[in-house]
């Protein structure tokens, strides 16, 4: 292989990604002859960056609203909306009925010290060093069109982040991870048969300033904490999360969002007296792979479960999702 072949391969990049950059170029150009490809949405880049990075691996969400509302037959965590965007993408958004951010005093565990690591990461980045952080994505093997079942977190399936304001710590058990967070409320991570092995807590901080050339690292304020458990179960890739936003997180309402151009659809499932929202997506590159994301919110914690599977594993994926939903039963 040579550089020309590498450049040719870059030239075959996904058109949506090329368009993203075209929009940035177009929006920033002061050349009157430069085309405005689309009406570029006003996006606060820093906020957007933070949002995208923390949710980098797969489905994304985000939020900031309240507890649950009581429906006629079941409690409702939030309402899922899907809209068609002018650029051909679809956006899903999970709206909650109020503000679920918690005060700093509600977080009492060692996770509060993660902001010190963020300062160290900032310095490492300034010094041109790699930041030792990765966030897991599902493990799909395009050669065999199947999902790995060995729970192997192969490096080349991990998603990296360059943001020094993100820190991840791994644990051997859910209990240890919950202790590390020290949330004064309750966190419920329903157990799943098959016991996915990878458990981590990702925390995110907001820097006191954005100057990359500052003499000293900025101070970081903890804005989001996310407990993640992931792994393969019988050929189905799973990733369940519990997310807590602090009072430092964005007060903009909500959220979500995950952009997909194909087959984005949703449904609601009533299980254990709760109405869960479920989002279904496929991707252009792996059209045979379906990902279902179940969403729930309770007691100021946003919960999600991603299951990614091929058609022949649908029944197993369904049973995993049901097991997770039943885990919230009173």
């Amino acid at each position: 292989m040579n550089r020309e072949q590498l450049l040719d391969a870059i030239g075959q990049a996904d058109e949506k990604m090329i368009l993203e950059v075209a929009q940035l170029r177009s929006a920033s150009s002061d050349d009157q002859n430069s085309p405005k490809l689309y009406d570029v949405k006003a996006v606060h880049r820093k906020g957007r960056k933070r949002l995208v990075i923390i949710l980098a691996a797969c489905m994304a969400l985000a939020l900031c609203s309240v507890a649950y509302a009581t429906g006629l037959f079941a409690r409702i965590g939030g309402i899922l909306h899907i809209t068609n965007d002018p650029d051909g993408m679809k956006t899903a958004r999970y709206d909650l009925p109020g503000d679920i951010r918690v005060p700093f005093s509600a977080i009492t565990g060692d996770v509060v010290n993660s902001t010190e690591y963020m300062r160290q990461y900032w310095q490492m980045q300034k010094d041109g060093l790699d930041i030792p952080l990765s966030i897991s994505a599902f493990n799909y093997d395009p050669e065999t069109n199947s999902i790995s079942i060995d729970d192997g977190f192969v490096d080349n399936h991990l998603v990296y982040t360059d943001n020094p304001g993100v820190y991840e710590k791994l644990f051997d058990s859910i209990d240890e991870a919950i202790d590390y967070i020290g949330f004064t409320g309750s966190i419920n991570m329903p157990s799943l048969t098959g016991n996915p092995r990878r458990i981590g807590v990702v925390s995110m901080g907001i820097p006191s300033n954005d100057d990359p050339n500052a003499a000293e690292p900025p101070t970081y304020t903890l804005s989001l904490i996310k407990l993640i458990r992931a792994g393969g179960i019988d050929g189905v890739w799973t990733r369940s999360t519990a997310e807590i936003d602090t009072e430092a997180s964005s007060s903009e309402s909500p959220t979500f969002a995950y952009l997909r151009s194909v087959a984005l659809s949703s449904e609601t499932r009533t299980v254990a007296g709760r109405e869960f929202s479920v989002l279904y997506t496929t991707s252009d590159e792996h059209p045979d792979l379906l990902t279902a994301t179940a969403l729930w919110q309770e007691n100021n914690v946003l919960y999600s479960l991603d299951v990614s599977f091929n058609e022949d594993r649908r029944a197993r994926a369904e049973s995993i999702m049901l097991e997770w939903m039943n885990g919230f039963a009173d």
């Binding site: 996904d14 090329i18 950059v21 075209a22 960056k49 980098a56 360059d162």
Partner: protein
């Protein structure tokens, strides 16, 4: 007229498709080609080649994102033209710098790639790019798809040149590591 309507004109073999494409995307395609070729006349010829290629290919390909589809063609045509020029020792400045930077990722070998290898490499690159944080991806594509200068790329990505340089360096290192693990290096 929307992009979908323009594509429909192509499919109906209506020459209005070309006029509408030129009206809407000529500056964008010119900028894309000019960034690589650095010569207006060459860029204009390249964009004309792009229209011709789109006219011939769209009934078969049915693009979802028309401007990105056209940009890919324009880029390919410009690089082909550049390689021809390269053999004559005339190359565009930004292309040359970007090309040089990619030496971090790969040292040139004379190993010829099969079509299957090229497809595998393209697939791997797409997967790598999708896994990158958006800022790093925008920066990488700005530099190595559009061949924009470091200054311009950093500007529209909303960061300083030094940060952009550092991020590009790290991304190239990650790409090298990724390609090694994929067995492509």
């Amino acid at each position: 007229m929307t992009d979908s309507e323009i594509v429909m004109l192509y499919r109906n073999r209506d020459e209005e498709a070309l006029r509408e494409t030129m009206r809407r995307y000529q500056p964008y395609l010119m900028k894309t080609a000019l960034q690589i070729l650095g010569d207006e006349q060459d860029a204009e010829e390249c964009v004309n080649d792009t229209y011709y290629a789109a006219w011939n290919s769209i009934p078969e390909h049915d693009p979802v994102n028309l401007p990105a589809y056209l940009a890919k063609i324009a880029r390919e045509k410009a690089i082909d033209r550049l390689r021809y020029r390269q053999r004559q020792k005339r190359i565009g400045a930004e292309y040359a710098v970007s090309f040089e930077e990619l030496g971090d990722v790969i040292a040139d070998t004379d190993g010829a790639e099969s079509e299957a290898d090229a497809a595998r490499l393209s697939e791997a690159i797409s997967r790598f790019l999708k896994a990158l944080p958006p800022d790093a991806r925008h920066l990488f594509l700005g530099r190595y798809f559009y061949f924009d200068s470091l200054k311009d790329t950093a500007s529209y990505c909303g960061m300083s040149e030094s940060k952009a340089k550092s991020m590009l360096h790290r991304t190239r290192r990650k790409l090298k590591k990724f390609l090694k693990k994929e067995g492509l290096l």
